[in-house]
């Protein structure tokens, strides 16, 4: 490569950079493989993740109560063992705004009825936030009870926790 080609190379990089900037600016920072790499850019915010607990042996009156991580009511279901990507699952739970029949069934399909079998699995939201100056509090909120053939919503929660729109 000679000097004129090097200059031409920089021009092509410049044009690519311009396209890069236009695509990420118009797509909230992400147009794969272009990215502004915004991960961890907003620090200190409360977070919400999700986990699955096996509540098969728990009495009905206890399964819907929210509780801390230290006093979780059932053993966690290891999602890797059933072939579900944990991050996908967590986003599915935290980013779904309207839990329509089809969305609830999509969750059951994600777990796989054959994996659930006779068990009862609780899909729970997990909230974390700073308490005071020096500790993080983690709260588990039971959200959807999933069996091989049905999905139940938490009767202790408000309908607005499941439906953002007025007429789902």
């Amino acid at each position: 490569m000679n000097l004129p080609e090097s200059r031409r190379g920089m021009k092509i990089i410049g044009i690519t950079l311009l396209i890069y900037a236009m695509l990420v600016a118009s797509h909230e920072g992400e147009f794969w493989p272009f990215s502004i790499y915004p991960m961890f850019s907003q620090a200190g915010n409360p977070w919400t993740r999700a986990m699955v607990m096996d509540v098969t042996d728990l009495p009905d009156e206890e399964i819907w109560q929210s509780h801390s991580l230290d006093s979780k009511t059932g053993p966690p279901v290891a999602l890797r063992e059933i072939g579900v990507d944990q991050i996908d699952y967590s986003n599915f739970i935290s980013k779904t705004e309207n839990w329509t029949d089809s969305r609830r069934n999509a969750l059951r399909t994600m777990f796989g009825p054959e994996n659930i079998g006779e068990a009862r699995w609780m899909a729970a939201k997990v909230h974390g936030r700073m308490i005071g100056e020096d500790s993080v509090a983690i709260q588990i909120q039971p959200f959807l009870l999933v069996t091989a053939d049905s999905v139940y919503m938490n009767p202790l929660l408000d309908e607005s926790d499941y439906f953002l729109e007025e007429n789902p």
Binding site: M1, N2, L3, E5, S6, R7, R8, G9, M10, I12, I13, T16, L17, E30, F31, W32, P33, S35, I36, Y37, P38, M39, F40, S41, Q42, A43, G44, P46, W47, R49, A50, M51, L69, P75, P76, V77, A78, L79, R80, E81, G83, V84, Q86, I87, D88, Y89, S90, N91, F92, K95, S102, R103, T109, V126, G128, R129, M130, E133, V136, I138
Partner: protein
């Protein structure tokens, strides 16, 4: 000489002759990108076919095309097969010079099909950017003497830019107090839930215990990582490149240890592009094999 010409001189080294080691290294690097491209294409295709049901978060072209069509009828797998065949043709230079661009578009589609479920991972971005650089290089610099130098220089440019951009995203998103150690506590606790959910058990490692035990230690960990991102663009200078690369690799190991996020392809690629491996090859090889010369 203008500033961008100086950067071009560092990235493309116009005064240096092409050596056999450079050709061999370039083709080995292209093979590395090819293997990861095919691997990702099939991983994403198989997962989409098995697990994706509805689009939760449309990314990229999924904003304009309903990618849920690809969840059924093996379409994601057919796309993976197409990517595989066309990427192989591109690797062996058996096709038009725009073929790599087609691979890039199909690869982008495969990513947005797979990651339509809410997660926006970045660990595959470097492989995607490399395919982009091969696509631009094959189109605008198809010659054997120009393409290797342009592709490698452009990849280094975008890697450096990406890290420095990540520094500013944090500065803008949070402010100068981004490195407050308590922020790291929140992230460690967040990732601990992901690990617990994925594996069924979670135990903090040594570095996490140190960070959770002291705000000052957690702040230092964040500050070192943040500073490393800031100087990412210094990779553009060939003499600084190995040192910057080493710091960035160290930062990735730190992220893996503190937040349990792995960057396998990312780190492997950094190891490949950040150091002048061609010099090592040139010590032992006097001439590039005929097949390598044919396929560059």
């Amino acid at each position: 000489m203008k500033w961008h010409e100086r950067i071009g001189k560092q990235l493309f080294e116009p005064g240096r002759d092409q050596s056999p080691g450079e050709l061999i290294f370039f083709k080995c690097f292209e093979l590395f990108v090819l293997v990861w491209t095919i691997s990702y294409a099939w991983d994403w295709g198989i997962y989409s076919q098995l697990r994706n049901v509805e689009v939760v978060l449309p990314l990229g072209m999924a904003n304009y095309i309903d990618v849920s069509l690809f969840f059924d009828h093996n379409l994601a797998l057919i796309n993976a097969a197409l990517i595989t065949v066309l990427a192989l043709f591109s690797f062996f230079r058996a096709g038009p010079k725009w073929l790599y661009m087609v691979v890039l578009v199909l690869f982008h589609m495969q990513y947005v099909i797979r990651y339509s479920q809410g997660e926006i991972p970045h660990s595959q971005n470097l492989i995607g950017m490399s395919v982009l650089c091969f696509a631009i290089g094959a189109w605008f610099f198809p010659g054997k003497k120009e393409m290797p130098r342009f592709v490698m220089g452009t990849i280094i440019f975008f890697i450096g830019l990406g890290y420095t951009s990540a520094f500013f995203a944090k500065l803008i998103g949070t402010g100068i107090n981004w490195y407050d150690g308590r922020h790291l506590w929140l992230w460690i606790s967040e990732k601990s839930i992901d690990i617990l959910s994925r594996e069924g058990v979670y135990n903090p490692n040594f570095l996490q215990q140190i960070a959770l035990g002291s705000t000052a230690a957690a702040s230092v960990i964040l500050l070192i990582g943040w500073f490393t991102e800031l100087i990412g663009f210094t990779m553009w200078w060939k003499k600084l490149r190995p040192y910057t690369t080493t710091l960035i690799i160290g930062m990735h190991f730190g992220i893996t240890l503190t937040m349990n996020i792995r960057f396998d392809a990312f780190v492997m690629q950094l190891i490949l592009v950040g150091y002048p491996w061609y010099r090592l090859i040139d010590r032992y090889i006097v001439s590039a094999p005929v097949l390598i010369k044919r396929w560059v």
